[in-house]
């Protein structure tokens, strides 16, 4: 999964411009199923049918004839959707200055304090740029506490003037952080990269698509989560699931000097099971199901110590006549930053738990 995650994190997909990520995932998914479509918003919807080799095979009503011989109980299996979002936070070009610098605005929630002196990629041509801040020598000490407002920030692409910049960049072009993918820490047990939120969820889904599954599962790679779970709203309507499992990267503030529940989640304490966040109160039975599955299988699990953040579950839960939702998230430090950090053990345990969840739904336990 790490190799897949690395590839995914290095791709750029600002909310509303997820094409690069989708094309990669689509190509990978098509090797394992023909049932792949992109909806009008750009969500990628991949149906992986139950494997014939699986004894617990199920189908969701209109499965192919081979599966109609599955146990009668299979007709009662709920329709399962698993979702993760393809988009990442970033920026967009808002203006070009007389001297050829670019003004920009954030797409999604970004702390302005992490954007100075960063390498960025501008537009489809991936023009190199760097976010500027005048040198320390030009800044009196008392002004080094000021954070410039978004409209006064700028990106330097090296253009000589406005005309040159405008010949290469258009207002509205996407801007993505540059960041490499590096393993580090004890036993190389940690990774740092951009967009772990939520290429992690995408990587888990790709791994699941590649496996033999005990029931039909609809995998939805959503768009525009970071600007208001918009892709998931549309996808949940068209997929019409009974149960949805959301895979995410979630906030961790387990930094030095942060006490107790203010850490929100801790790296190394296992996957985070959603019970409640700013967007949803998750289905209690599904939460308990996940919790029990983890415990029985000796997987660590944790819950958030603060009711903060949200996931696509908020949109899915309210779709049509309501959907039962659950979530498994990886705790991520410096989330929404170019150098987000996650612990590999949490990532792997999350994948394992997602697999167990599918099995539990297929067997009727959940």
């Amino acid at each position: 999964m790490l190799r897949t995650l690395k590839t995914l994190c290095l791709l750029n997909g600002i909310s509303g411009n997820e094409d690069e990520v989708r094309e990669y995932i689509k190509a990978r998914a098509l090797k394992h199923t023909d049932d792949v479509r992109t909806d009008r918003m750009g969500n990628l919807i991949v149906v992986k049918h139950a494997s014939e080799r699986c004894t617990a095979c199920g189908a969701d009503g209109n499965a192919d004839p081979k599966q109609s011989a599955a146990p009668s109980r299979s007709n009662k299996l709920p329709k399962l959707m698993i979702a993760a979002h393809m988009d990442e936070v970033g920026f967009m070009v808002t203006r070009v200055t007389e001297k050829g610098y670019l003004g920009f605005a954030p797409v999604g929630g970004i702390d302005p304090r992490v954007v100075f002196n960063r390498r960025v990629f501008v537009g489809e041509k991936k023009l190199n740029g760097v976010t500027g801040l005048k040198a320390v020598h030009q800044t009196p000490a008392e002004l080094r506490t000021e954070i410039p407002k978004w409209p006064s920030m700028y990106i330097d692409i090296g253009a000589k003037d406005k005309a040159e910049a405008e010949s290469l960049v258009s207002i509205g072009d996407s801007i993505a952080f540059h960041s490499d993918f590096v393993r580090f820490g004890k036993g190389d047990g940690f990774i740092k990269a951009k967009a772990i939120d939520d290429r992690y969820g995408c990587a888990v889904m790709l791994k699941l698509i590649e496996k033999d599954l005990p029931m039909d599962v609809t995998f939805v790679f959503t768009v525009q989560e970071e600007v208001g779970t918009r892709g998931a709203t549309a996808a949940a309507y068209s997929v019409a699931p009974d149960i949805a499992l959301i895979l995410e990267g979630t906030t961790s503030a387990d930094l030095a000097g942060v006490d107790g529940h203010k850490k929100v989640t801790r790296l190394g304490d296992g996957p985070v099971l959603g019970f409640m966040d700013a967007g949803s109160i998750y289905d209690r039975k599904l939460f308990e199901g996940l919790r029990d599955l983890a415990t029985e299988n000796k997987l660590p699990w944790q819950i958030k110590g603060r009711i903060a953040g949200g996931t696509d579950a908020a949109a899915v839960q309210r779709s049509r006549s309501g959907v039962r939702v659950a979530s498994i998230s990886a705790p991520v430090r410096s989330i929404h930053c170019p150098n987000s950090v996650a612990k590999i053990s949490d990532l792997k345990q999350g994948l394992k738990l997602a697999e167990l969840f599918i099995d539990a739904v297929a067997s009727g336990r959940i």
């Binding site: 304090r113 801040l133 040198a135 020598h137 253009a159 820490g185 930094l255 000097g257 150098n339």
Partner: protein
């Protein structure tokens, strides 16, 4: 000569002030093909000499510093590292910064920040203070204390990249790009008959003004010292007194630290060779090695030639290769033809 190759190689090496020796070795190796003698002295200055063959020759010293700004581990908290600064950094460049912690072998660290989801808007409008920042190295407290002792240096880890128009972004262009310019000068004058010996110094310690350069100047007993450094280029948030621009040639930092006859000669040579220069009035301390070399021994004629740089002391400094080449050409011209005052004192 591929000046870019030298800039990339030198700038991506790790060598904060006080820990320059590995970079000094790289720099010595790089300049060796163009020099008659190369050594590294007590303070980790690189000293490369191009002899003119005249017995008792006068001496020109060209110094570019090899050290870089950085951080140093000052303590451990919950497995994270506390940090102090080496040289002048704006703390606003640090949050969520990826760093190299210079253990053996070096390892990644990330300056950790709170997720925006738990912050209020007003939290995000005030800069984090450097003393409140911690570096995530993926270790427990016990492991961190054992594996990363207090005093371990830490540096930025930017890999260089191109912008448009031959502009280039990297860490530590201040001032290793200037040393690359010195290699270019050495190449330009390699087969020339020179009126004096030319010493190329890759100096240590500049960012804390405890420089290796004055020690090298003392040892050399030069007639003229020139510090080759980087100068402030204007960016959109600069105030009007900063006006130097990329691509418009070297800066001459004229003022008390710039000996008049050297200034006149450099200006005249620039005109003759059609090298554009940008004059920057520098009424006091020049903030370069020249400030200290000027008063070594009985005093040394001194000058400061810089090329303009954006975002100095950040992980993403930005230069224009044209300025580096123009700077090298101007210095080569001076090395060949310094005028009679330089050779008379």
């Amino acid at each position: 000569m591929e000046i870019k190759k030298y800039i990339k190689q030198l700038c991506e090496a790790f060598g904060p002030t006080g820990f320059e020796r590995p970079v000094a070795r790289l720099a010595a190796e790089a300049i060796a093909p163009y020099a008659d003698e190369v050594s590294i002295d007590t303070l980790a200055n690189v000293v490369a000499i191009k002899r003119c063959g005249i017995p008792g020759a006068h001496k020109l010293l060209l110094a570019a510093h090899l050290d870089e700004v950085g951080l140093v581990v000052t303590g451990h908290e919950d497995g994270f590292l506390c940090i102090g600064q080496i040289g002048g950094l704006d703390p606003r460049v640090l949050p969520d910064r990826d760093l190299m912690v210079l253990t053996d072998p070096p390892r990644l660290g990330v300056v950790s920040v709170q997720p925006p989801h738990v912050l209020k808007a007003e939290d995000m409008s005030k800069a984090l203070k450097q003393e409140d920042l911690r570096v995530d190295v993926g270790l427990s407290q016990k492991e961190a204390v054992r594996e990363i002792p207090i005093g371990t240096p830490v540096v930025f880890r930017t890999e260089g990249f191109d912008l448009l128009n031959d502009r280039y972004v990297s860490k530590t262009l201040d001032d290793r790009a200037s040393f690359a310019a010195l290699i270019r000068v050495a190449e330009l004058i390699k087969d020339k008959q020179l009126p004096w010996d030319v010493y190329f110094i890759g100096s240590s310690g500049e960012e804390r003004s405890e420089g290796g350069a004055p020690a090298a100047a003392y040892e050399t007993d030069a007639d003229v010292c020139i510090a080759i450094d980087v100068g402030q280029a204007a960016v959109p948030d600069s105030t009007p007194e900063v006006f130097a621009d990329l691509g418009k040639g070297p800066l001459l930092k004229v003022g008390p630290n710039f000996t008049r006859h050297v200034e006149k000669r450099l200006t005249a040579l620039a005109e003759k060779q059609q090298i554009p220069v940008q004059r920057v009035a520098t009424p006091g301390r020049s903030g370069t090695d020249a400030w200290f070399m000027h008063i070594v021994k009985g005093g040394v004629a001194s000058a400061i030639v810089e090329f303009p740089l954006r975002y100095m002391h950040s992980p993403t400094e930005c230069l224009d290769f044209a300025d580096v080449e123009l700077t090298a050409r101007l210095l080569a011209a001076y090395a060949e033809d310094p005028g009679k005052e330089a050779l008379e004192c």
